[in-house]
């Protein structure tokens, strides 16, 4: 199977301090991969790099011919202005952006697609609700509906099930499995290891440095977790410049 994402000695971070340090490896086309690790391990940072919001400090990301804008991305804390007067339908319809762009009209067929997406996250009847009136779980369902419409080959979910109840998590996980069946590449930052074991074939255990990466059962061992927890979260203000050699391009 070909690689969808390839990390080449990738270092991402802030103010020259690495948050993801020297990551090498590949995500296969159609993989369903969990990214786990303690808080501050660099999961969100890695995703920002994948979707192109954060430029690498060193190394690079190859995206297998997919532009960063074509990657569907659900950030951990979406910068959504909940007081903005917009309803669920319009918000979900924004997922059609890549097909409609700035000016494309939304026709009858598109309206059916939007309705179907809203239905598959169980929000039928909420179409004309203002987003400010949604609960946390309903909000997340709405954002998943928008992801559905984005119809992306690569989908990146940053802690999608945090503060979400069991029923909603299960419904949304079903969508993730559906994406996997449709051969899309899905990356999700996760904290619930039972959910990871039950649903994600691949796992990357990150603690700034990659600790382990591979089949989930082999990655999620007690030994690996102990190593991951040893990571020091704080940046060292006196750190010297990193001297790991850049590989030849």
């Amino acid at each position: 199977m070909s690689a969808q994402l390839r990390f080449r000695n990738l270092t991402l971070g802030y103010d020259r301090h690495p948050a993801v340090h020297h990551l090498d490896g590949e995500v296969a086309d159609g993989a369903l991969m969990a990214v786990v690790g303690p808080n501050g391990a660099g999961k969100s940072t890695l995703f920002k790099g994948v979707v192109g919001v954060l430029k690498p400090l060193a190394g690079r990301i190859e995206r297998g011919g997919v532009a960063p804008q074509e990657i569907a991305y659900l950030p951990q804390a979406a910068e959504i202005d909940r007081s903005f007067p917009i309803d669920v339908y319009d918000m979900v319809a924004m997922g059609l952006w890549h097909r409609k762009g700035l000016f494309g009209g939304i026709g009858r067929k598109d309206r059916d697609t939007v309705e179907a997406a809203i239905a598959s996250v169980g929000l039928t009847g909420f179409e004309s609700r203002q987003i400010g009136t949604l609960s946390g779980g309903q909000m997340q369902r709405m954002l998943f509906a928008r992801l559905l419409l984005q119809d992306a080959r690569v989908i990146v979910l940053d802690e999608p099930f945090n503060a979400i109840d069991a029923k909603t998590s299960a419904d949304l996980l079903a969508l993730v499995r559906r994406w996997h069946e449709e051969q899309r590449t899905v990356l999700a930052a996760m904290h619930d290891l039972d959910v990871v074991k039950a649903n994600f074939p691949q796992t990357l255990l990150l603690a700034r440095e990659p600790v382990a990466w591979g089949a989930t059962a082999e990655v999620l061992t007690a030994d690996n977790w102990t190593r991951a927890r040893r990571m020091c979260e704080a940046f060292d203000e006196q750190a010297e410049a990193c001297i790991v050699a850049e590989p030849a391009r």
Binding site: Q69, Y73, P75, A78, E79, P85, D87, W97, L102, Q150
Partner: protein, 289 residues
Amino acid sequence: MIYDALIAPFAEFEFMRRALVGSFALSFGAAPIGVFLMLRRMSLIGDAMAHAILPGAAVGFLLFGLSLFALAGGGLIAGFVIAVGAGLIARATELKEDASLAAFFLISLALGVTIVSMKGSNVDLLHFLFGSVLAVDDAALFLIVGLTSVSLVILALIWRPLVLECVDPGFLRSVSGAGGPVHLAFLALVVMNLVGGFQALGTLLAVGIMMLPAVASRFWARDITGMVAVAVGIAAFSGFTGLLISYHASLPSGPAIILVAGGLYAFSVVFGRAGGLLWQAMPRRHLEA
């Protein structure tokens, strides 16, 4: 009687008709911009921008005298430079946009007052600051209508990304690079409408026709299309009523228009159907589900 009060002033006097058309054009151009400024929590940005325009108009005045197009051209250039400069600095550094805009407009204002005082008298400065809608001639009217029409067209073109940039900027960034250009285009629209407005209302009160109807509209509509419609309606009604009051009571027209808009704002705060104080004070029984 009603004819005398409401229609006759416009039927009899050309300057009243021009003032009416001018204020209607400004209503259509500026009020929707005001709605977006309000929703983006940038309500005071219009004020800052209005000050920022002054040195451009003053340079135009210095070079070409009281020529309409020199004033407007200078104002547009100064406004665009400041909007783009502040926008770029906000995006390239940690400084938030309101902070960089505050720095820019204060420098700009000081520069403007200096330039005006080098040549003109205080009377000229007063004209900049307060304008005169009744002194709008054909050329000024064309300028106002032209600027506001272009503004409406551009707003229609950038409507979708502008809404998206307001509600979920992270999503827009992740699907498109349009966020930056759209934001700058929006600031340019603010400048254009203020320049159009300062012919008639002066730099200070031009902000009034932009913001007051917009802020009031929030009390009548719950979605953005409704707010824009209500804001335009309030602005146009304020223009019409304000001109009549100024005519019958011999009051200065610009402040009269803005005061009517202010009155409608106060009315909306109390009686507005969407969250007005009165409706909050008399809650109806809650629903079953």
